[in-house]
């Protein structure tokens, strides 16, 4: 529900501005490279400590400075990309799967199923996102996989609602009625005709939602509920460096700035993609 609010509201003009969109795509390409092959962007180990050079400010040798253990922040940020980004993406994929299942059953499974499932979705939405994630972490325990599941539980109800709404629209279209008239089995109609046409707006929402999910997993790590200490995950880096922010501002700025740029790029790209179908229709 929150996701769809955020989708409608911010920064329309930014998405329309070409340079912003290109910058966002370029940054996301960089993120993909850093996730797939961090060795291409950074040399050295993210865990190489140097007790003689702790909390060094940005400068030659250490472009973003060093942390409390003398580890190079740039190398750690590059190597932490995969964990930071994939947890959020994984959560989004899980949430999408659950959303398609619940939304599909709700739209196509008859009135009783619809009533029960949608009330359940309402009930899940009544528990604020982060509070829900903390409840799931209490039940499942911390760590990367469990925070992925926790974030998926937050996002899934929104997707379920949108899938249901889309399916209800698509079901009334001519090709769907034709398929019914031809006597095709209902499951086949749902998978072949209804879902492919209902999904595009859902996938667009997922682009924006994956940004929110990446931010949320970082927040859980910041609360100390993410991966265990040596892992260079962005949120976890901010949690471990907390006591040194007053001494070394760069330890607070660098990981958060990369995180923010990632979420912002996904927002910008998502808003840009949302405008595309209209443009395609004009042509």
């Amino acid at each position: 529900m929150i996701d769809s609010t955020f989708r409608a509201a911010p920064g329309r003009a930014l998405a329309g501005a070409r340079p912003g969109v290109w910058l966002a795509f370029a940054f996301l390409a960089l993120i993909v490279v850093a996730s797939a092959a961090p060795g291409l962007l950074a040399h050295g180990s993210p865990d190489a400590a140097d007790p003689l050079r702790t909390l060094q400010p940005p400068g030659a040798g250490h472009p973003l400075g060093t942390d409390q253990n003398g580890r190079d922040l740039y190398v750690r940020i590059v190597y932490g990309t995969r964990d930071s980004v994939l947890t959020g993406l994984g959560a989004t994929v899980l949430a999408l799967g659950a959303g398609v299942l619940v939304g599909g059953l709700s739209a196509l499974g008859g009135r009783a199923a619809d009533a029960v499932l949608m009330r359940a979705v309402d009930a899940l939405l009544a528990i604020p996102g982060l509070v829900m994630a903390l409840l799931m972490i209490t039940a499942l325990g911390g760590g990367t996989v469990n925070s992925m599941i926790a974030i998926a539980v937050i996002a899934a109800p929104g997707y379920a609602r949108l899938v249901r709404a889309q399916l209800l629209v698509v079901r009334r279209s001519g090709y769907a009625e034709a398929a019914v008239a031809l006597g095709r089995p209902p499951v086949l109609i749902a998978v072949r005709h209804l879902l492919p046409n209902a999904l595009p707006p859902v996938l667009l929402l997922a682009t924006l939602g994956s940004g929110a999910a990446i931010g949320a997993t970082a927040a859980l790590s910041y609360l100390g509920l993410g991966p265990a200490p040596p892992a260079p995950q962005w949120g976890a880096m901010l949690q471990q460096g907390q006591e040194y922010f007053s001494l070394a501002w760069w330890t607070a700025v660098a990981p958060g700035a990369v995180l923010t740029l990632t979420v912002l790029s996904l927002t910008v790209v998502g808003q840009y993609l949302q405008k595309l179908p209209a443009g395609r229709l004009e042509r």
């Binding site: 509201a9 920064g11 309402d122 009930a123 528990i127 509070v131 325990g141 958060g256």
Partner: protein, 326 residues
């Protein structure tokens, strides 16, 4: 307001149905809210029993050695030996009596712990929503109907305000204004210590509210009553404040219900970043300490808050916007 009078012969019959309509609306919304709350209670109960291994171990703490007597005592006190459906009925029954159970770590009733911590959180949220509302209103009025060159930078700011992870925004403000410039105390309970947390909580909300309000203002500016007011010779200020504002506020009020959830989640983060007392701190401490009764109690209180705010917004809506009364 000054809606065009429709030629309606049965004027006398109008007030009565409108009123029963509103009463029925109250009842259906109330029923819906209760069902949603019951669903949240059921889900929380189910989540508790997802815990891997025994619930008793989770309550005692995995690293602690306890005598079998204490273990039996814990089991008895939480009714954990009973079949699931009895535990469920028992818990739901206690909740209806306002009994949230006993905190294992704080050794006090959960309801007392929550009552002690709810004040600072409500202060924080109220300050933040006021701030966000004021900033959004000013920005919306200032940028409505302006050229691309004025709106572009503001739109970029709004997208950034929404995208920036709240905990990092807090860290950044803390590093710059408390550690660096020393304008505000790092921790404390005075009004000075409320500024940065409230700003952190308010900024993303303002990022959502501003475009919505601006759209409301722009739509209202095209209405015939604005033309009429201008033709009467009303100044631009009068047009905006007396005629346009009301219309711009209506969509924002609808959003308030949704923002209640975002504000609660944000408060958890903000309290952690700024080491403020409050429900969020209570919850995070309970999660890390596996203090399950406190986790459940806090979750249910936030759900109750969310449902109540949405119910109130739903019922106030027709009072704010007379067009929705029937």
């Amino acid at each position: 307001m000054s809606a065009a009078p429709v030629a309606e012969p049965a004027v006398v019959a109008v007030p009565a149905p409108a009123r029963t309509g509103y009463r029925r609306r109250i009842l259906t919304r109330l029923g819906h809210a209760l069902i949603v709350l019951w669903g949240a209670v059921t889900f929380t109960f189910a989540a508790l029993h997802l815990i891997r291994g025994s619930v008793v171990d989770a309550i005692i703490g995995n690293n602690l050695q306890v005598t079998p007597e204490i273990r039996a005592e814990v089991e008895r006190r939480y009714g954990l030996g009973e079949p699931l459906w009895r535990q469920y009925l028992h818990q739901t029954g206690s909740l209806l009596r306002g009994d949230l159970g006993e905190s294992y770590q704080l050794s006090m009733p959960v309801s007392q712990a929550i009552r002690e911590q709810v004040g600072p959180t409500l202060t924080l949220m109220a300050t933040a929503i006021t701030l966000a509302g004021a900033v959004s209103l000013v920005l919306a009025l200032a940028t409505a109907g302006r050229s691309r060159w004025v709106r572009g930078p503001f739109a970029a700011l709004e997208a950034t305000a929404v995208s920036v992870p709240q905990f990092w925004l807090g860290i950044l403000l803390l590093t710059v204004f408390s550690f660096g410039l020393r304008w505000f105390p790092v921790i404390g309970t005075g009004p000075g210590a409320l500024v940065l947390p409230a700003v952190t909580l308010a900024l993303p909300v303002a990022g959502v509210l501003t475009p919505v309000m601006r759209e409301g203002v722009e739509r209202a500016l095209e209405e015939p009553f604005v033309v009429t007011a201008r033709a009467r010779g009303a100044s631009e200020w009068i047009v905006l404040s007396r005629h346009v504002l009301r219309h711009a506020l209506i969509p924002a009020v609808t959003l308030l219900g949704l923002l209640a959830g975002a504000l609660t989640g944000g408060a958890v983060i903000v309290e952690q970043v700024f080491s403020r007392p409050g429900l969020g701190r209570l919850l995070v401490t309970a999660v890390t300490g596996k203090d399950i009764p406190v986790v459940l109690g806090t979750v249910l209180v936030t759900a109750l808050f969310y449902v109540t705010v949405n119910l109130v917004v739903d019922l106030l809506y027709p009072l704010i916007d007379p067009r929705l009364r029937d």
